[in-house]
C-alpha cells in the first residue's frame, strides 16, 4: 500500500520533447551511463523528495500536504530559476505509513532510484529522523521540520560538538515549551501544584526527564510537579492518576498526551469531580478536531502554538499572510486550519529557496552550501541556520494560547494566543482565562 504521487506542473513532457532530449543526449551521454533511468530525465528538472505520514496513526499531520504541494507549484508555475536557468520542479511525495522503517525505505528509494536533488521530510520524529539518517548515510542534502529539535538531534545520536554534515532541521525545542507553559500558568491564580501526564514514549520520556525535561524548571519556578510515572499510550483508564492529582490538590494539569488518551482522561476527570483551573498539554490539543471531540469540555484548554492565522509572517512564494494561507486551506479542503498547514508550506518555501540559490543543483556540495547559507522569511517565521542551539538546528518562535468556543462559527473552536512573552512580535488575541 504505497502511496506515491508525482506532481510536476509544467513538466508534462510531450513526445516531441522526449525525442529532442533523446537526440541531444544520445551522442554525448549514452555511452557514459547507458541503462540508468536518469538518462531519460530532462536535465533541467529539479527533483525534490518529500516524505510524510499520509496514512496510519500520524496521518492527521499530513492532511495539508496535498494542498501545500499543489498550491505552491501553482504559484510558481511549476518552474524555479536557478543558476541562470529556468528549471521544472518535480516534487515526489512518498508515504511513510507512520512507520519509521517505512520512512527510511522510501527515503532510500527517493535517493537511489528517483535521484532527488534535495530530500525533505516533516511531521514527528518517526518521520524526520529515519529520513535524515538515510540522507546522512547517502550524503544527500536534507531539510526537515515539525519535530522538536531535541528528539531530532539527540534522538539520532547527534553530538553537539560536531553535529551532522548533510541534514538540517528547523523547529522549536523543549525549553521553549516549558517557558511558554510557565508563562501561561503565571497569568492565573493557582496553588502551583501541577499534575503531569507523561506517557512511556519518546516525547513523554523527554518531557518528564528529571534533568532535561519539565521537573527542574518547574521546581525552579516554585511549582510542585506530581508525576505518577510513565503510563502506556492508549490506556483506557486514568482513575489512578486522577485520584493522585485529587489527593495532591493539583490545580494545573500538563503533559504530552495522545488525543484519545486525553479524551479518556478529561472525561473520567469530569466523572470523578476533578476540575483543574488549567490544563496545558502538548500533542492532544494540536488539531481542532480533537478539541471538538471533547464537546463543551474543550473550552479554555491550553497548549503551545507554533503557527496560527494571526502570526505576522508572509509566504515568500505566494505573498499570502498567515491568515490568507489558513483561509485558502479552508476554502480548498473545507477543513479548519491546523498548525501543520503553515509549517508544511514553509518547508516548500525553504526547499525552493535552497534550489534557487544553488550554483549547480546536480552538485550535492553546492546544494549543501545553499542550505547552510539559507536566510529566508517564511510563513512560519524566519529560517536561518547558524544561531541555533546546535549547528544543524534553527529555532522557530513559539507562543501559547487557549482553545475558545466560537458560537458564531464557522468552526466550533478557535485557538487564541494568550501568551507571547517568548516571541513578542506575535500579537496576543486575548487574556488567559481559568477553566470555569
Amino acid at each position: 500500500m504505497t502511496t506515491e504521487s508525482r506532481t510536476a506542473k509544467g513538466a508534462g513532457r510531450t513526445r516531441r520533447d522526449v525525442l529532442k532530449a533523446g537526440a541531444a543526449g544520445v551522442a554525448g551521454t549514452a555511452a557514459l551511463s547507458a541503462g540508468f533511468p536518469s538518462i531519460a530525465r530532462a536535465a533541467d528538472t529539479v527533483r525534490i523528495g518529500y516524505v510524510s505520514p499520509k496514512t496510519g496513526p500520524l496521518a492527521a499531520f499530513a492532511e495539508a500536504d496535498e494542498f501545500n504541494v499543489s498550491s505552491v507549484l501553482d504559484a510558481v508555475g511549476g518552474k524555479v530559476q536557478s543558476g541562470g536557468k529556468s528549471l521544472d520542479v518535480e516534487i515526489i511525495v512518498k508515504d511513510s505509513q507512520s512507520n519509521p522503517n517505512r520512512a527510511a525505505e522510501v527515503a532510500s528509494e527517493l535517493i537511489l532510484s528517483d535521484e532527488v536533488h534535495l530530500l525533505c521530510a516533516a511531521n514527528t520524529p518517526e518521520t524526520t529522523n529515519p529520513v535524515a539518517d538515510q540522507a546522512e548515510i547517502n550524503e544527500v542534502p536534507c531539510v526537515t521540520t515539525l519535530c522538536p529539535w531535541q528528539p531530532y538531534f539527540f534522538g539520532r545520536g547527534g553530538d553537539p560538538a560536531t553535529g551532522f554534515q548533510w541534514t538540517y532541521h528547523y523547529f522549536w525545542g523543549l525549553e521553549d515549551v516549558i517557558a511558554v507553559f510557565l508563562n501561561l500558568w503565571g497569568k492565573l491564580e493557582t496553588n502551583k501544584v501541577v499534575g503531569g501526564l507523561f506517557p512511556n514514549d519518546g516525547d513523554g520520556n523527554a518531557w518528564g526527564h528529571p534533568e532535561l525535561g519539565f521537573p527542574k524548571p518547574l521546581a525552579g519556578a516554585g511549582y510542585t510537579l506530581i508525576d505518577p510515572g510513565r503510563y502506556q499510550n492508549l490506556s483506557d483508564d486514568f482513575s489512578a492518576q486522577i485520584s493522585e492529582f485529587k489527593d495532591a490538590g493539583a490545580e494545573i494539569v500538563t503533559g504530552v498526551v495522545l488525543p484519545p488518551d486525553f479524551t479518556t482522561f478529561w472525561t473520567q476527570a469530569a466523572q470523578q469531580g476533578f476540575r483543574p483551573k488549567a490544563a496545558t498539554v502538548g500533542k492532544a490539543l494540536l488539531f481542532p478536531v480533537s478539541v471538538e471531540a471533547l464537546g463543551d469540555a474543550g473550552h479554555n484548554l491550553s497548549s503551545e502554538i507554533w503557527w496560527s492565522p494571526s502570526h505576522p509572517f508572509t509566504s515568500s512564494i505566494t505573498g499570502q499572510s498567515c491568515g490568507e494561507l489558513a483561509a485558502a486551506f479552508t476554502a480548498a479542503t473545507g477543513k479548519q486550519w491546523s498548525q501543520p498547514v503553515g509549517y508544511g508550506h514553509s518547508l516548500l518555501e525553504v526547499a525552493l529557496d535552497v534550489v534557487s540559490r544553488a550554483e549547480d543543483i546536480g552538485d550535492t556540495e553546492a546544494m549543501l552550501a545553499s542550505i547552510v547559507a539559507t536566510d529566508i522569511a517564511t510563513v512560519a517565521g524566519p529560517v536561518s541556520w547558524g544561531a541555533g542551539p546546535v549547528k544543524n538546528v534553527a529555532k522557530m518562535p513559539l507562543v501559547g494560547g487557549q482553545w475558545r468556543r466560537t458560537p458564531e462559527g464557522p468552526f466550533a473552536y478557535d485557538l487564541t494566543i494568550t501568551s507571547n512573552e517568548t516571541a513578542p512580535n506575535i500579537p496576543t488575541n486575548a487574556g488567559m482565562e481559568a477553566i470555569a
Partner: protein, 289 residues
C-alpha cells in the same frame, strides 16, 4: 477506599472489553474462525454511527437502531460471500483473508473519513456520575456500558440454550458434518453467527466512540484486549468472556495503582498467568479435537 475505587472502575472497564470480545468469542465458538479484522470492524461500526449522527443529528445511542442491523447485514454478507469460502481443514486461509480485510477496512475508512480523530458526542451523559461517599464516583456512561454487556451476554446465552437457532449453533459447533447430515445448512448458520457477532460489534463500536476518540488506524489496538478477554474466559464461553473482560479491567486498574506504567502490563500479566495455569481458559466450553 482508593483500592475499592480502582476495582470498581476496573470492573466497569471490563464491561467494555467484554463487549469488544463477545463477537470474537461467538464466531470462534461456532466456526473456529479467528477474525483478525475484528478491531477494524469495531472502528467501522463507530464510523457508521458517526455518519448517522452527523447526517441526522440523532443521539449516538439512538443511532444503534440503524447501525446494529446494518452491521449484522454486513456480517451475513461477509460470511456468505467471502469467509465461508476460506473455512476448511487449514486454519491459515481465514487468518490471511481477515488480515487483508483489516488493511482494506483501515484504508477505505482513511479515504472516506480522512485521518481526523473523531468522537460521538453524547452530551451530559459523557461526564454524569453518581457520587458514593466523597471518594468514589461511578460514571453513568461506564455503568450503562457494563449493564449493556451483561444484557447482551445474558441474551446470547438464552438464545444459545433456549432457541432452535441456538441449538443449530451448538450442533454446528460440536460437529458441523453431522449437523449437516441432520439438515442444517452450515453456510447459513455460520453467516447468522457472523451477523449476530457484528450486531454486538456495532454496540461495542458505538460505546467505544462515545468513550474516547477514534480514527481509522486504531482498530488493531482494540483487537488485542478482545483476544485476551476471550482466552482468559475460555474459548466459546460467553460468561467466561465477560469474566475475562472484568479480570483484564481490574488487573489494569490495580496495576495502575502501583504504577501507571504497570497498567497495561498488569492486564497482559494476568492474561499470561491464566494461560499458564489454565491453558484452555477459565471456563472453556469448546475443545478442539
Amino acid at each position: 477506599m482508593e483500592w475499592l475505587d480502582a476495582i470498581i472502575q476496573g470492573i466497569l472497564l471490563g464491561g467494555l472489553y467484554a463487549l469488544f470480545a463477545t463477537g470474537l468469542s461467538l464466531i470462534f465458538g461456532v466456526m473456529r474462525l479467528v477474525n483478525i479484522a475484528h478491531g477494524d470492524l469495531i472502528v467501522l461500526a463507530a464510523f457508521l454511527g458517526l455518519a448517522m449522527v452527523n447526517g441526522t443529528g440523532v443521539h449516538p445511542l439512538l443511532s444503534l437502531i440503524v447501525t446494529v442491523p446494518v452491521m449484522a447485514a454486513i456480517g451475513y454478507a461477509l460470511q456468505r460471500g467471502i469467509l465461508n469460502l476460506t473455512l476448511g481443514r487449514d486454519i491459515l486461509p481465514p487468518l490471511l483473508v481477515t488480515f487483508g480485510l483489516s488493511i482494506i477496512i483501515q484504508n477505505v475508512l482513511l479515504e472516506v473519513f480522512s485521518a481526523d480523530t473523531q468522537r460521538l458526542k453524547a452530551g451530559a451523559l459523557e461526564t454524569a456520575s453518581i457520587a458514593i461517599g466523597d471518594q468514589i464516583a461511578i460514571g453513568w456512561f461506564p455503568l450503562i456500558v457494563f449493564l449493556a454487556a451483561l444484557g447482551v451476554i445474558a441474551g446470547l446465552q438464552l438464545m444459545l440454550f433456549r432457541t432452535r437457532l441456538g441449538m443449530a449453533f451448538r450442533a454446528t459447533s460440536d460437529d458441523h458434518r453431522t449437523a449437516g447430515l441432520m439438515g442444517i445448512d452450515n453456510r447459513h448458520v455460520f453467516a447468522l453467527a457472523m451477523a449476530l457477532a457484528l450486531g454486538v460489534v456495532a454496540l461495542a463500536g458505538t460505546f467505544m466512540a462515545i468513550r474516547t476518540n477514534f480514527s481509522p488506524a486504531i482498530g488493531p489496538a482494540r483487537l488485542l484486549y478482545a483476544f485476551e478477554a476471550v482466552i482468559i474466559g475460555g474459548l466459546g464461553s460467553l460468561w467466561g468472556t465477560l469474566a475475562g473482560g472484568v479480570i483484564l479491567g481490574v488487573a489494569q486498574a490495580i496495576g495502575a495503582k502501583f504504577h501507571p506504567g504497570g497498567q497495561i502490563l498488569a492486564g497482559h500479566v494476568a492474561f499470561l498467568i491464566v494461560l499458564v495455569l489454565r491453558p484452555n481458559g477459565l471456563f472453556p466450553r469448546t475443545r478442539d479435537r
